[in-house]
Every structure is written in structure tokens, then in C-alpha cells.
């Protein structure tokens, strides 16, 4: 009798240790890739991140040196173009979902947005290729920006809707009770109260599309020189990394590592910014 109970006790302890060890291991496995990627990028890329990388154009094949200045600027331009499409439509659509639409129409819209969020990004590239590139007979920054913007729309739409629904109803009522028009209430009171959350959603969408390569393959296409016309193909950091990484040249490989490092650090910075924005105290709930 006594031994049986002791055994049971030991078995229970073993199970306890096993379960906590498994969960701990899983937690480590979550963090490990980020640490590994970052470490690897630092080792391989840090050496090539220098002044020339940020200021010079790519050198011709066989010439060592040069940089990705055009790709860095090109990425920023593409992000700006993407925001022009994605931010207004995403934010206004989110406002509609949270403030206006009927329950039934909203659940359909929400479902569609969630499906769109799951669409592989290369699909957006193909769609824009078909709609824009073929029609206007050429790759362009506009087409790349549009592809990125289309990816942003459902992301921003959902985050905007959620943060607007978090605004306590008391503020809406207080504003409406002052005889303030509905749209002014939404713009000046509700959206203002939710502004931090809306900006956070936009930043997260930018972080997401900043590293997108696939939708740019058939749209922005890439460019080894400065782009002076948004109707022409444009370079982008992820595209350049892709091109350089699959090339047979060692110097290009080094630059690809550097490009990947710059990209990861950039996205890391956006995420830190998001953390800072969301860390601040939320407004007192009514």
C-alpha cells in the first residue's frame, strides 16, 4: 500500500516535470529563430553595412563595392505609394465597419477582410500584373505600390475597426448630445481617441509589407539605377536582396546579407515604435 502511493507520487512528479519541460522547450523554439536569424545576419552582413552601402548605386558585375542606396530609397517610395492606397481605404473601411454598417453586412465584410489577410502575397503581385502592368505595358513603381497597398487594406481595416470599437460609447454620446454632427463626432472625438491604435495598425501593416518580395516581382520589377519616374520599374530592398542572393557572385552575396540586415533592423525599429506607442497609458475608460 505504502509503496504504491509512493510510486504514484513519483510518477506525478515526473509528469509534472515532463509537461513543464515541454512547454519551456516550445517557448525557447519560439524565440530561437529570431535570435538565430539576427545572429546570422549580424555575422554575415554587418561587415558589408558601411557608408557606401547606404550612398552608392550597385556596381556593374565584377566590380567590387557599391551599395543599395537606390533600393533603400525605392523601398521607402514603395511604402509611401502603398500607404497612399492602403491607409485611407483601410482606415475609412474600418471606421465604416465600427460605426456605420449593419450587423449582417459587417460580418460579411469582416469575413472577406480576414480571407484577404490570408491570401498569399504573390497573388497580389499577379493580380496587379494582370490589372496594371499588362494594361499599361510596363513594370512601374505605381504597380508595386498598388500591390503593397492592396495587402495593407485588410490589415489596416481590421485593426482600425478593433481600436475604434474600444472607444467607450460615452464619448460618442457626449459629443452627439452637444449637437455635434455624426461625422464630426467620429472624426474629432472617436478617431482622435483611437488615433494611437490606428497609427499602430498602420505601422504594423508597413512592417509587414516592408519585407514583401513576391508582390514586387511582377510589378515594381527592380532597377539597378535611380528611379526618376514612378511610371518606370523601381528598386526595392527585398527585391535587391533576392536578386543578389541567387546570383553566383561572392560580393553580391555579402551585399545581400547586408541588405537583409538593414531590412530586419528597419522592421525591428517599426515594431519598437509600436511598442512605445502602445505602452503609454490608455485613456481612462468611461
Amino acid at each position: 500500500m505504502h509503496t504504491i502511493r509512493a510510486n504514484k507520487h513519483i510518477w506525478r512528479k515526473v509528469k509534472n516535470v515532463l509537461v513543464s519541460a515541454t512547454t519551456f522547450l516550445s517557448a525557447i523554439l519560439v524565440i530561437a529563430p529570431l535570435a538565430l536569424v539576427f545572429f546570422h545576419l549580424l555575422i554575415n552582413g554587418a561587415g558589408s553595412v558601411n557608408w557606401a552601402f547606404f550612398t552608392q548605386l550597385p556596381k556593374p558585375v565584377g566590380v567590387v563595392g557599391g551599395g543599395m542606396a537606390n533600393a533603400i530609397v525605392g523601398s521607402l517610395e514603395l511604402l509611401a505609394l502603398g500607404s497612399v492606397v492602403g491607409v485611407p481605404i483601410g482606415v475609412l473601411g474600418g471606421v465604416y465597419l465600427a460605426e456605420y454598417g449593419s450587423a449582417r453586412a459587417n460580418s460579411i465584410l469582416r469575413f472577406i477582410a480576414d480571407v484577404l489577410n490570408g491570401v498569399p502575397s504573390i497573388t497580389w503581385g499577379v493580380v496587379v500584373y494582370g490589372l496594371v502592368v499588362l494594361r499599361f505595358k510596363g513594370f512601374s513603381a505605381y504597380a508595386g505600390g498598388l500591390a503593397l497597398g492592396l495587402i495593407m487594406i485588410p490589415l489596416i481595416l481590421r485593426t482600425t475597426e478593433e481600436v475604434i470599437l474600444l472607444v467607450p460609447n460615452g464619448y460618442r454620446e457626449a459629443a452627439l448630445a452637444l449637437g455635434i454632427a455624426r461625422w464630426k463626432t467620429i472624426v474629432h472625438v472617436v478617431m482622435k481617441t483611437a488615433s494611437k491604435g490606428i497609427i499602430t495598425g498602420i505601422l504594423l501593416a508597413l512592417a509587414r509589407i516592408g519585407g514583401e518580395t513576391a508582390p514586387l516581382l511582377f510589378t515594381a520589377f527592380g532597377n539597378r539605377f535611380w528611379n526618376h519616374n514612378l511610371g518606370e520599374p523601381i528598386a526595392a530592398l527585398p527585391l535587391q536582396v533576392f536578386t543578389y542572393a541567387i546570383s553566383p557572385y561572392d560580393d553580391w552575396h555579402r551585399q545581400a546579407w547586408a541588405g537583409a540586415l538593414v531590412l530586419v533592423v528597419g522592421i525591428f525599429c517599426i515594431n519598437v515604435l509600436v511598442r512605445i506607442l502602445t505602452r503609454e497609458r490608455k485613456p481612462a475608460v468611461v
Binding site: P168, L178, G179, I180, K184, T185, V189, K192, P283
Partner: protein, 281 residues
């Protein structure tokens, strides 16, 4: 003589500003701010208010009492068309503000709400705005640009809300930095800044301590010289202290309406007496 209850056949003599005024409902000798006729309200299938008919006199405090769920707040919200914001509401009957039907198709609900201000149960100053901005936001968003005018109205509203002396050096601080009672007075100042004719208050003191409550009650007493005030309260002592008239609602119906002194000392209805003496509710 004003037939305030519209249901009880007894004429009620109205005492205002120390003089006794005798008037009949049909004539307009006693200024009435609201005339409510056969008002019924439904939320979906559920009827919240059942053909309520009553008049609300001007420049007086009318309190609405009754147990939870009796339709007090719904009734109050019908007076400035705030109940329409709840989906699937339906109403019948008439609400006249100074003789004009609030629900006629040519009336803009935003204009109604400018004339009939509202203070809510929980103080709700806008968290993104300073104390000063909170007060003048109603004017600003209704198109007033004149900074001098806005500043004057800011001070005037805060003085009327008995808050000026406490906040005059902190107008730039966030409205949410004030204490609960100050926040509620800020909300009153915000409502007064658009110069309404009526102020509706939906349990304005239920989240406040007794000292803050006393300040608001004192304020209500002063405001009634310039405004018509309708206040919903759960606190019967408060109704007794601040109001000139009291309406008792039960299960969506108006049971009794009359001068507060009569309702509290000599109610005509058994239900009123039971509620006031604490036998139910």
C-alpha cells in the same frame, strides 16, 4: 390651473418664484418647456414606455424617479432624441419643445440636442482634450471660430458650473486629470457652453461622493434660474432636495406627477407611496 398630471382630475396649483400662478393647460400662462403626449417607446419587441403624457414646466427642476428598468432614462433620452441612437427603437406620440414637435420630419436631431443639453451618469470628458478644449468643443465643432467669443464662453460656462476658480490656471491640462466631481462639473460646463434651453441629467451624481454630490446639487439649484432641468435620479432624498416637481415611473408608465412636496408627503397613488417609503424598488 395647470393640469400637470393630465391624468389626475385634480387641478394643481403651481408655485414658481414665490408667486402663485394659476393657469389651465390649454392656455399658455405657465411656461411649459416640454409637452409630452402619449409617448410610447419600443426597443425591438419590448415596450419601454407606455403612453406617457406629462408637461415639464420651464425654469424649474423636474426629477424622474422609479425603480431600475422603469423607463426613466429612456424617457429622458426621448427629450433630446438620444434614444434614436440605439438600433431598432421605435416611438409613438409627441414631444413638443416650446410648442414645436421635436419629431417632425423637418427637425434636425443635432439642432434638438444643441437646444436640449445632456449630462450623463458617468462623467465623460474627452480624454484627448484639455479642460478648456472640452468646454468649447461643442461650439468649435458647430462652426464657431471667433477666439475671443470662445474664450468668453469658456469662462462663463466654467463659472456657471462652479468650476472656474478651481481650474482657471489649469485650462491646458487634460480634462481627465480632474477629480470625479470636477469632471462631472466639467461635463456640465461643456453642456452649458452651447447655450441650451434645457439640461437633462441622467443620474449625474450616482458615481460621486457626498461632498461632490452636494456641490452638483447646489449647482442644479442655481442653474434653474436660467435653465429648465430634468434629472433622473435613484436617490429619493436627492429628488426631494433639488426638484420642484417629481414624476414617478413604474414599469414604463407614469404613475404620478406633481409638485415634489406633494409627491413626497401626500401622494395620490398607492404605488408612489409604497416606493417612496421604501416598500419596493
Amino acid at each position: 390651473m395647470v393640469n400637470l398630471t393630465m391624468r389626475s382630475p385634480d387641478p394643481i396649483v403651481l408655485e414658481r418664484r414665490g408667486e402663485t400662478i394659476e393657469a389651465a393647460t390649454e392656455t399658455e400662462q405657465v411656461p411649459l418647456t416640454f409637452q409630452i403626449k402619449d409617448l410610447s417607446v419600443w426597443y425591438g419587441e419590448k415596450q419601454a414606455i407606455e403612453s406617457v403624457t406629462m408637461d415639464i414646466p420651464s425654469n424649474a427642476v423636474t426629477s424622474i424617479i422609479g425603480p431600475s428598468g422603469c423607463g426613466k432614462s429612456t424617457f429622458l433620452r426621448c427629450l433630446n432624441r438620444m434614444h434614436e441612437l440605439v438600433p431598432r427603437t421605435r416611438m409613438e406620440g409627441k414631444v413638443l419643445l416650446l410648442g414645436k414637435d421635436l419629431y417632425s420630419p423637418d427637425v434636425d436631431p443635432a439642432i434638438v440636442r444643441r437646444r436640449v443639453g445632456m449630462v450623463f451618469q458617468k462623467s465623460n470628458p474627452f480624454p484627448t482634450m484639455s479642460i478648456g478644449e472640452n468646454v468649447i468643443i461643442g461650439l468649435r465643432l458647430n462652426g464657431v471660430r471667433d477666439q475671443k467669443f470662445l474664450n468668453e464662453r469658456l469662462e462663463k460656462s466654467l463659472r456657471m458650473a462652479a468650476l472656474w476658480d478651481e481650474v482657471k490656471d489649469d485650462l491646458h491640462k487634460p480634462g481627465t486629470s480632474l477629480s470625479g466631481g470636477q469632471q462631472q462639473r466639467l461635463c456640465i460646463a461643456r453642456a452649458l457652453a452651447v447655450e441650451p434651453e434645457v439640461v437633462l441629467m441622467d443620474e449625474p451624481c450616482s458615481a460621486l461622493d457626498p461632498i461632490a454630490t452636494a456641490k452638483i446639487e447646489e449647482l442644479i439649484h442655481e442653474l434653474k434660474t436660467q435653465y429648465t432641468i430634468v434629472i433622473v435620479t435613484h436617490n429619493m432624498q436627492q429628488a426631494g432636495r433639488v426638484s420642484d416637481y417629481t414624476a414617478f415611473f413604474y414599469l414604463g408608465k407614469l404613475v404620478e406627477f406633481g409638485p415634489t412636496s406633494k409627491i413626497f408627503t401626500n401622494p395620490s397613488e398607492r404605488k408612489t407611496e409604497d416606493y417612496i417609503t421604501g416598500r419596493f424598488g
